[in-house]
Amino acid sequence: MRPDDGYRLLVQGVLDYAIFMLDPDGHITSWNAGAQQIKGYREEEILGKHFSVFYPPEDIAAGKPWHELDQAIRHGRVEDEGWRIRKDGTRFWADVVITALRDETGELRGFGKVTRDTTDRRAAEEALRASEERFRLLVQGVRDHAIFMLDPDGHITSWNTGAQQIKGYREEEILGKHFSVFYPPENADLPKKELVRASRDGRLETEGWRIRKDGTRFWANIVITAMYDDTGTLCGFGKVTRDMTERRAAEQALSERRRLLGHLVEAQELERRRIAWDVHDDSIQAMVAVGMRLQLLAGRLPAEQQELAAQLDEAVRASVGRLRGLVANLRPTTIDQHGLVPSLAGYLRDVVRPWGLETSLSAELPNEPPMPVAITLFRICQEALTNVHKHARATRVDVTLAGKDGGTLVRVSDDGVGLPDPAPDDPYRHFGLLEMRERAEIAGGWWSVTSTPGGGTTIQFWLPTAPTQEEE
């Protein structure tokens, strides 16, 4: 095989490029497989035709094919991109190189023409451009975030609607200014530091006070991203700023609420402790002394009156027992020493079981709730269990605690007679239910009771681990 044959076969076989020759006037003198593939003509039907058949009418009208040959003659080659026409009339986007071919004497022998169908690439480029444009419009239109760019020194090079909204500057008055204008005077060294850190770490997130055009302050959340070009050179920074003033106020209200709940629970516990000691030191002692004197008195009474004295003594004794029960309920919990679940288990064992109730406790808590929440959970359980003891005529009560929705869900179920519906005859019971519900709601949670006559009562309540704002 001669070397020329090798080239010919190569050219013939190439499918991705139309490679063909023109005579000096522009008539086609050779054709390859790629040309057939791209333009749709077979060799025998295109040889001898003028290459202007590939051009759209508007280009022919403008004389473009002849102009391109002129250019090739003048400069040796010409490169062009544009629409061309296939045999079936459809268009494709072509990347074309026409090379003037001359012999050793320099006489023009014709042209070599290499055409590539870049429709797909062009479509991809168009799509990218459109996508970039949409993205730019999106960024431009975002109102909640100030999104803008800085050059490597910190001068503002782009601005969006959100930036205008949050900072108050219009694009034309802020472009080119240094972004340190947004910083309060006490943080004059901060802009530089932030850019240094962003370029060192690639990214920086921070919060702080920033200044609007009108001099007012807002609490900002800021992300600065360093941007590098293909060669790794820093070409600027992207900066996204959000106005967090309202959220910060809401967070402060929330922490204030947390603090208030803490105070409330603490005050309640203190009051209960005080009442417990009062009852313990005063009422119970007095009753005990009365009982002792009654017994002495009974010994001196005639036999027929001793029965009465014994009954009185029994009444006093029962009363002392009830007061002790009250004291036990009012007593400080042991949550601070032992935790919520052990304290509840202890209460069930020491107080509820002696009432003659079977008990069970199941608890799956991922974390110990914070102290005021734990105390509130315990006190509501205590109230619910006391209700079961006083009203339900139940034989067993089951308590479950589970972590749920960022809080604690508690269920207290008994197998008693259920609540009468409604219960106008028993204001105390109603009071007890109300108190539980209020405790739960003050702590930012909810409380509910379901009951079927003869089918027991279930009290469910949920308290958030951190109390949330009350919904009005």
């Binding site: 119970i284 002692q285 005990v288 002394a289 009365v290 004197r293 002495l296 004291v327 036990a328």
Partner: protein, 127 residues
């Protein structure tokens, strides 16, 4: 007639102090030699009267039952000690037993039980 046991009653609550004294005094073989309203007074009176039995309230001003117990143990070693308490002072009960308190009486028990406990302690002091 059996020998009289001499008893000291210490309780800061005047009603209880009086009731307790009456309950004990009502028994022919028991004699209340002194009553105290706080721990310091209890210790002083115990030293002066060296009673057979001291009935000490666990929660009292002047250092409480534990202080009174310690003092009486050194200042009147022959006195036998009974603690009288609310039922939920179980923590104090342990300590008092360690300090040598014979029995721990819960307020609200019957007079008969109180008297029986005092006699047991008195007999121990005799022997």
């Amino acid at each position: 007639m059996t020998e009289q046991f001499r008893v000291l009653v210490a309780d800061d609550d005047p009603m209880l102090r009086m009731a307790l004294s009456e309950v004990i005094a009502a028994e022919a073989d028991l004699h209340v030699v002194a009553t105290a309203a706080d721990a310091q007074e209890a210790a002083d009176l115990a030293e002066r009267h060296t009673p057979d039995v001291a009935l000490i309230d666990v929660r009292m001003p002047g250092g409480g039952g534990t202080h009174a117990t310690r003092e009486i143990r050194t200042r009147s070693p022959r006195t036998r000690l009974l603690a009288f308490s609310a039922y939920d002072d179980s923590g104090a009960a342990e300590e008092l037993k360690r300090l040598g308190v014979k029995e721990f009486l819960v307020k609200g028990i019957t007079n008969a039980e109180i008297v029986a406990a005092v006699r047991r302690a008195g007999a121990d002091a005799e022997g």
